[in-house]
């Protein structure tokens, strides 16, 4: 829903969802959050992100998977409540 087309209720839903996601990302363990930011938001390759975090690519993938799993659970729990 674009901001132009959204009803007030939809805008509130978007704001609530963004606030929830912001809290969930901020609550991630530091290294999981770093991995997510570098790969998902900054678009670094797995090797670049792994080098910056000083981990092997396999460990980076584990950090990313744990971060995404946590965020998915937080969002699902929120929708269920």
């Amino acid at each position: 829903v674009s901001a132009d087309d959204a009803t007030p209720g939809e805008l509130r839903d978007d704001e609530r969802r963004e606030a929830l996601l912001r809290r969930a990302i901020a609550a991630l363990p530091e290294r999981q959050r770093s991995a997510l930011v570098l790969c998902h938001y900054q678009g670094l390759s797995n090797r670049q992100a792994a080098a910056i975090l000083d981990v092997h690519v396999e460990a980076l993938e584990s950090l990313l998977a744990r971060a995404r799993r946590t965020l998915k659970k937080e969002l699902k729990d929120h929708h269920a409540s």
């Binding site: 912001r22 901020a26 530091e30 290294r31 998902h40 390759s45 910056i52 000083d54 995404r68």
Partner: protein
Amino acid sequence: MQADRVRQLLDAYGADPGRWPEEQRDAMQAALARDPELEAVRREAAELDRLLDGYAVGGLDLTGRILAAIPETRLERLLGWLLPAEPTLWWRPAMAAALPLVLGVVIGVSDIPLAGATYDWSAQEQGLLGGAATESWYE
């Protein structure tokens, strides 16, 4: 590519092929095309991607905090990776001065103006060059 590996990559990188490791994209696409169960996993990952993409992460200044938290002992190795084949130390003062630009380019901080920059990199430089990693990096 084994189905378990496809699931691992979807769990880590999400559903967008642009985020998958480049050397594994073709094998991923082929595996997804022949296995409806994996395609369902991909659709689930795409839903989370959509939510994450709707969030402007810049508000938390997370990239700056990541850079600031890189331990000093890793600076030389990181710079060596960024700019290889410089075995002597003569470049370090110049490199330190150029560090914000180099990291800005590498990290891809597109919202930071590189020409006539007004962005304050002092905290990042202090963290990188002074080694004051205050975050619990090894969490």
